[in-house]
């Protein structure tokens, strides 16, 4: 058991900023990340010495990242542990939980156990992607937008030669640009929100956005748009991939016009030949560690925090996407606030700038615009047929889930999982959990239950076993 002032879990923008701020306030810090390198999904990059193509062109605020990384890795008061999978956190009656990690390559046989007893804990575990199912989405060649981006950024590899990017949100643009950069032909970007909704979401009271933010965002998005235009990539709104076709892998998709609530308009389907399709419908906070730690959640499933990034558990702070999807700028601001506050909780006197609650609030307002413009609409469930697989791990179709619910009459997700096997596979409902809840006709009495994962990542029994004591 190792005691530490501030333990930060997750080394994306929020976690790096938190570790940095906690160090500046004088706390001794340990920063854990599951990847081989720090940076998170936003700054995903090949490990040093990798032969992967240079992908710096795909990075944003890279200088900010290298400065943070250098400050932390060269600092003897901060231990950066990569390849560290936190598999369990033990809630304690008072104060932050005990954190159990395994360190080393996940496929290796000799990961080292490390147990931390932090005086303050910052959870910066980020988000995983939300993908809405459609007929054929389980074919090889269909992947998440994030997976495509990770391959482009991390390995310099394209997921296909002719690729369609579909879903919703501004994230689709850098994914498409990344694919172009690594040599793919992008057959189109298909955004589910209509032009009208995008305008209504982003544009009201633009004077409330600081010109600097507006310019920065516009410049970033404008850069992608110029890349797409230069490569004659069609950008379509108010449409969705409603089916993927192919035998052994995807060879084509059907793109259809959809209404404001995302119901496909009959007769508008058009076939597009592709050898890969990337879909992304936003992000879901990765809350399993926060839930195990006892942190209260907000209605949307994110971790509830106050102005100082405090969760409901004393000594536990949260920052970045787990407090609500808001992007890297918000994550950096929240991380800095969380790191300072955590250092304070660990007994250090905060130094440096005042807690940047105003900055956090500004970025949150920006995120709210994004959700208004791109949030998932309920009509999507009408493009899911009875034979559409919803849970890929256990190969459970929407029809099977609906039938199990009708046969048993239960109002409980737990019973439904056990009678249909939906959400019981290796991903433990990360991919399908919310989709299943959306697909059911009535409200559940235990909604959100799939997010409870006491064992946060799969671990081999031998890696966690303790010798029985008699």
């Amino acid at each position: 058991m190792r005691s530490v002032d501030v333990l930060v879990i997750g080394a994306g923008p929020a976690g790096l900023a938190a570790a940095h701020a906690a160090r500046r306030a004088g706390a001794r810090v340990v920063l854990l990340d599951a990847s081989a390198v720090v940076g998170g999904q936003f700054w995903r990059h090949p490990p040093a010495g990798s032969s992967a193509a240079d992908s710096l062109a795909l990075q944003h605020k890279w200088d900010g990242f290298t400065a943070l990384r250098a400050a932390l890795t060269e600092d003897p008061g901060c231990e950066v542990v990569t390849g560290a999978q936190v598999w369990a956190v033990d809630r304690r009656d008072a104060g932050p939980p005990v954190v159990h990690a395994l360190v080393g390559p996940a496929d290796g046989g000799d990961r080292r156990r490390r147990v931390f007893e932090p005086r303050a804990l910052v959870l910066a575990t980020g988000a995983h992607e939300r993908t809405l199912p459609f007929p054929g989405w389980d074919l090889p060649g269909v992947c998440t937008a994030g997976a495509a981006q990770a391959m482009a950024k991390g390995e310099g590899v394209a997921v296909g030669r002719r690729v369609l990017v579909a879903g919703t949100g501004p994230f689709l643009l850098p994914v498409a640009a990344g694919l172009i950069h690594v040599g793919a032909t992008v057959a189109g970007v298909v955004e589910a929100s209509s032009r009208r909704r995008i305008a209504r979401g982003w544009l009201p009271r633009p004077h409330r956005m600081r010109p600097k933010d507006l310019l920065a965002k516009s410049a970033e998005l404008g850069g992608y748009v110029r890349t797409l235009a230069a490569h004659r990539v069609p950008y379509r709104t108010g449409a969705a991939v409603v089916a993927a076709h192919g035998e052994d892998r995807v060879t084509a998709v059907t793109v259809a016009r959809i209404t404001e609530d995302w119901t496909p308009v009959p007769g508008t389907g058009r076939r597009v030949e592709v050898d890969a399709v990337c879909v992304g419908h936003g992000f879901v906070p990765r809350t399993e560690l926060a839930i195990s730690a006892g942190c209260a959640l907000a209605a949307d499933g994110s971790v509830r925090v106050d102005d100082g990034q405090r969760t409901s558990v004393p000594g536990v702070y949260a920052a970045g996407e787990i407090t609500g999807i808001g992007g890297a700028d918000l994550a950096l601001a929240e991380g800095a606030a969380a790191g300072r506050a955590a250092a304070g909780a660990a007994g250090q006197t905060a130094v440096g700038g005042a807690v940047s609650t105003a900055e956090v609030a500004r970025h949150r307002a920006f995120a709210a615009r994004m959700h208004r413009a791109h949030g998932i609409r309920p009509g999507w469930t009408s493009w899911v047929g009875d034979s559409t697989v919803v849970c890929r791990c256990e190969e459970v179709t929407a029809g099977q889930v609906r039938a199990a619910l009708a046969e048993t009459g239960t109002c409980g997700l737990r019973s439904l999982k056990l009678s249909s096997r939906v959400g019981l596979g290796m991903c433990q409902g990360r991919t399908c959990g919310r989709n299943v809840e959306d697909l059911l006709p009535g409200p559940l009495l235990d909604a959100g239950r799939m997010a409870n994962r006491p064992i946060a990542v799969p671990v081999r029994l031998g890696e966690i076993a303790t010798t029985p004591t008699e």
């Binding site: 369990a88 199990a404 109002c411 076993a465």
Partner: protein, 392 residues
């Protein structure tokens, strides 16, 4: 307002089995649960239908009766509900209890001998035979006993199947309805007040598992049912390598113990889905549901003593729950003379799935004024061993 002959509080396995039995016996039945069906203890265990862990006595009698009923039920429910209903995964796979030390071997063989005296099929097997029954079992076998009468069922599906059958015969199942108190008239309980209004009934059956004490208290009686926490690990799916329910011989001691502190002993088995379930821990800490790394680690370590190959197998999930524990280790079944109209069907600790059909038979016979197949007196709430906890 709705009037029923019987209102059952709790839509878990026991409430479901009792509802089906009563509705088939001609009663009008309403089942209430403050949560969802099969949402508590019934979906938090392994689905054990065991005789192997019970010594001669009233619990074994109930287990033997229930085991017989389960075999009939599994076939009957399947026929009644059709192939569209999720599979109960009932499997009469048998249990293999293994001792790995000389002291454990003596205790196991002596225990099995007493069970044989009570009519249980408990067959000592040699280490070589054990290896044939379970090729991946540890070679460190000091003694092993095969119990062909042990079986397994998917407990949540089993609960839903019993409820679905009860519903088809006229029972009403209402989820998300909380009992707030009793309706008493002339010294008799004539129904319950709920979050959805009053429900009148001639008989009220408390089948609320570990929450039964709370429900009973709201009706004005003391009932000594306490939560005893357990944790189960689930591995990734794999080709079946474990054929029976396999326990280390410590399991019997842990079940019968009354200690509050953490105890673990191995219970390892495959499921129809291809996962391996690893139990079991026992701990009395109120309704504290957290799952701790220390418990998980101990379960993993003990399971590896039985099946060394598990060391390399990924565990992907852990779940926990609360067993309804009664200090004298027997369920409470039957009418409560302290409050006419009140019945109990609770306190089965970790054996509720297995004992539910026998419990339902007892309640069904007693409520109809018939002689039950086995004597009901040992399970009465008025039994001497609970005197301290039920009076005052």
């Amino acid at each position: 307002m709705r009037s029923s002959d019987v209102v059952i509080v709790g839509a878990g396995i026991v409430g479901a089995a009792v509802a089906r039995r009563l509705v088939l016996g001609g009663f009008r039945v309403t089942v209430l649960d403050r949560g969802a069906s099969a949402g508590g203890t019934s979906s938090s265990g392994e689905g054990n239908i065991l005789v192997s862990d019970k010594g001669p006595g009233a619990e074994l009698d109930l287990a033997v009766l229930s085991g017989r009923r389960w075999t009939e039920l599994a076939a009957g429910l399947r026929a009644e509900l059709g192939s569209g209903f999720p599979d109960l995964e009932f499997e009469a796979k048998g249990g293999l209890v293994v001792a790995t030390t000389a002291a454990g071997a003596d205790a196991l063989l002596a225990f099995a001998s007493t069970q044989r005296g009570a009519g249980v099929d408990a067959r000592p097997v040699t280490a070589a035979e054990a290896a044939e029954l379970e090729p991946d079992l540890t070679p460190q076998v000091a003694a092993a006993v095969l119990y062909p009468g042990d079986a397994q069922v998917q407990p949540a599906v089993a609960t839903e199947a019993l409820l679905a059958s009860a519903r088809r015969h006229g029972a009403q199942v209402r989820q998300g309805v909380t009992v707030r108190g009793g309706i008493v008239s002339k010294g008799r309980l004539v129904g319950v007040d709920t979050s959805a209004g009053p429900v009148h009934a001639e008989h009220t059956v408390v089948a609320a598992g570990p929450w039964s004490a709370e429900v009973a208290a709201s009706l004005g009686v003391r009932l000594p049912v306490l939560p005893r926490r357990g944790t189960v690990l689930v591995t990734a799916r794999m080709p079946r390598r474990i054929r029976h329910k396999v326990y280390d011989a410590d399991y019997v001691g842990a079940v019968e113990s009354a200690a509050a502190a953490l105890q673990t002993s191995s219970v390892v088995e495959s499921t129809a889905a291809g996962t391996v379930l690893i139990g079991s821990s026992r701990e009395r800490r109120g309704f504290d549901g957290r799952i701790e790394a220390a418990v998980v680690g101990e379960l993993a370590g003990k399971a590896m003593l039985l099946f060394p190959f598990l060391a390399g197998v990924p565990v992907m999930r852990a779940y926990g729950g609360f067993r309804p524990y009664v200090p004298d280790h027997l369920p409470v079944i039957g009418p409560d003379p302290r409050l006419p109209g009140l019945w109990h069907a609770t306190g089965h600790e970790g054996a509720g799935i297995g004992l539910a059909p026998g419990t339902a038979d007892l309640i069904g016979a007693l409520m109809a004024g018939e002689e039950p197949e086995i004597p009901a007196a040992p399970y009465a709430v008025t039994r001497p061993s609970l005197k301290e906890e039920t009076t005052g």
